[in-house]
């Protein structure tokens, strides 16, 4: 088990494994997302209160779910990198941040688009949108700390400490935002109440969440490959990879 783990954590080995993994992640992602969109836009019935406006949840909910899930993944990877000093884990954490920030932005934008027909305004200080906004700040803080260091090793470890401090804080932030919003009795995105969720509304949502997750993993694998190659630029295997790709391009 451990030897397998250490072998995977070696950059050249990972670089090869990830390359073969990418199509196995991105093709299912495409299939699931197409299926989910068809289910969400065609099969699922209109909501009796919100009409067709609610259908944006098929993008909003998976994005919001991934924005949180990726932050936790990033903090886990950063923690593993910090404690066991595994460079690949730092590369994974570094690659997570821009993807996570993008999904957070997507969740915010779709949330605002949903807000317009719901509340008549694009923005309400409502707990879930507010939490997403704070999460976006956390991602920005992480990424700007990363870029502030000249030394990669220092940048990896410092940003790992920040990611861990952030992940401890995320539930605290979440609950204080809920508490804060509860005091105001403000409007909230009306949930699809449990009894009203019919099977034809639910399965496209779950399909989309699964599809988005596969998409994230595929993009992550691609990003980590690039990150690893850049980090190991001076090593022989990276030079071999670079030489072989440039020869291929020359042949074309």
């Amino acid at each position: 088990m451990w030897t397998w783990f250490y072998r995977l954590a070696s950059p050249p080995h990972f670089y090869r494994v990830a390359a073969s993994l990418v199509p196995w992640l991105l093709w299912p992602a495409l299939l699931l997302i197409v299926l989910g969109i068809w289910g969400g836009l065609v099969v699922a019935p209109a909501d009796y209160q919100q009409g067709d406006g609610y259908r944006i949840i098929y993008v909003h909910v998976p994005s919001a779910y991934l924005s949180m899930m990726i932050y936790v993944t990033m903090a886990l990877a950063a923690g593993i990198g910090l404690i066991w000093r595994i460079k690949l884990a730092h590369a994974v954490a570094a690659s997570c941040a821009p993807i996570g920030a993008s999904f957070t932005a997507a969740a915010l934008i779709t949330g605002m688009l949903w807000g317009k027909p719901m509340w008549g305004t694009y923005w309400q200080w409502e707990p879930r949108l507010t939490s997403e906004l704070i999460l976006l700040f956390l991602y920005f803080g992480y990424m700007s700390l990363r870029s502030a260091f000249n030394d990669l090793n220092q940048s990896d470890r410092a940003s790992a400490v920040l990611a861990l401090a952030g992940v401890v804080n995320v539930p605290i932030i979440h609950f204080s935002v809920l508490w804060w919003a509860g005091l105001h009795q403000g409007p909230s995105i009306s949930k699809l109440d449990a009894p009203s969720i019919v099977f034809n509304m639910l399965w496209p949502l779950l399909t989309m969440i699964l599809g988005f997750t596969f998409f994230f993993l595929g993009v992550l694998a691609m990003r980590v490959r690039g990150e690893v190659l850049e980090r190991e630029f001076h090593s022989r295997w990276a030079q071999d990879v670079l030489r072989s790709t440039s020869i291929m391009e020359a042949d074309r």
């Binding site: 910090l82 704070i134 700040f137 956390l138 920005f140 803080g141 992480y142 700007s144 700390l145 502030a148 260091f149 030394d151 090793n153 220092q154 470890r157 410092a158 400490v161 920040l162 861990l164 401090a165 952030g166 401890v168 804080n169 605290i172 932030i173 204080s176 935002v177 508490w179 804060w180 005091l183």
Partner: protein, 226 residues
């Protein structure tokens, strides 16, 4: 040679306070900044009493947070630059305790004066007496939490040249729960209700920050001193 942990804490605390006393501007700047920010709102907005009263909890808390964020940048910077941190790192003592002593010294010279002048400023915002006592209490519990959370960020950026905005961007979101609870507690007292709930929650956050922030900041300092 084996120094007790209590005396280690006191030695570091005493020295940092002594250094701060030799530099009065470092003590005065955050308070003056705090007063300035608070004074900006009536000038830019509307000086009517009931309007200011509604604004007071949020404004005073935001100003206190900003004053803390500005001063935190200096928490470990001089120690990293002049080599003091290298010496502290090669001494056989738990670094977390040293960090805690330094953070406490920093709060005593920058945070406590802000807390002390806050009631006076609250009077200029026409805040009633029981709301002022809640404000004072919430700041007294909340600003040490802000300093402790900020010590992690200050430790991470201590070795970087341009870090003021970066520090605020990094640790600002982490401090939002303190801001929300503190301002809201004052607000609740202002509307005549019982603010003990959020004050207890603030206390819980302080306890959490006391136990988790120093080791995290110690880890960060080792990275910054590298």
């Amino acid at each position: 040679m084996n120094l007790g942990l209590g005396s280690l804490f006191l030695i570091v605390l005493q020295r940092d306070l002594m250094i701060a006393m030799r530099r009065w501007s470092d003590i005065c700047n955050p308070v003056v900044f705090f007063v300035l920010v608070v004074a900006l709102f009536p000038l830019a907005l509307n000086p009517r009493a009931e309007f200011l009263r509604a604004l007071a909890p949020g404004v005073l808390w935001i100003a206190a947070l900003l004053a803390a964020l500005l001063s935190l940048n200096q928490l470990f910077r001089a120690d990293i630059e002049d080599g003091t941190m290298e010496q502290l790192l090669t001494l056989p003592y738990p670094l977390g305790l040293v960090i805690l002593a330094k953070t406490l010294a920093h709060w005593l010279v920058t945070g406590l004066p802000v807390v002390a002048v806050a009631p006076m400023l609250a009077i200029t915002y026409h805040l009633p007496a029981d709301a002022i006592s809640t404000l004072l209490l919430s700041l007294l519990i909340g600003t040490p939490t802000i300093s402790l959370l900020g010590s992690i960020g200050a430790a991470l950026t201590a070795g970087l040249r341009q870090s003021g905005v970066l520090l605020a961007l990094m640790v600002g979101p982490l401090m939002l729960p303190v801001l929300m609870l503190g301002a809201r507690a004052t607000d609740i007292a202002l509307s005549g209700d019982d603010p003990t709930g959020p004050l207890y929650l603030l206390g819980a956050l302080l306890a959490l920050a006391l136990s988790l922030a120093p080791p995290a900041a110690a880890m960060a300092i080792r990275i910054s001193a590298d």
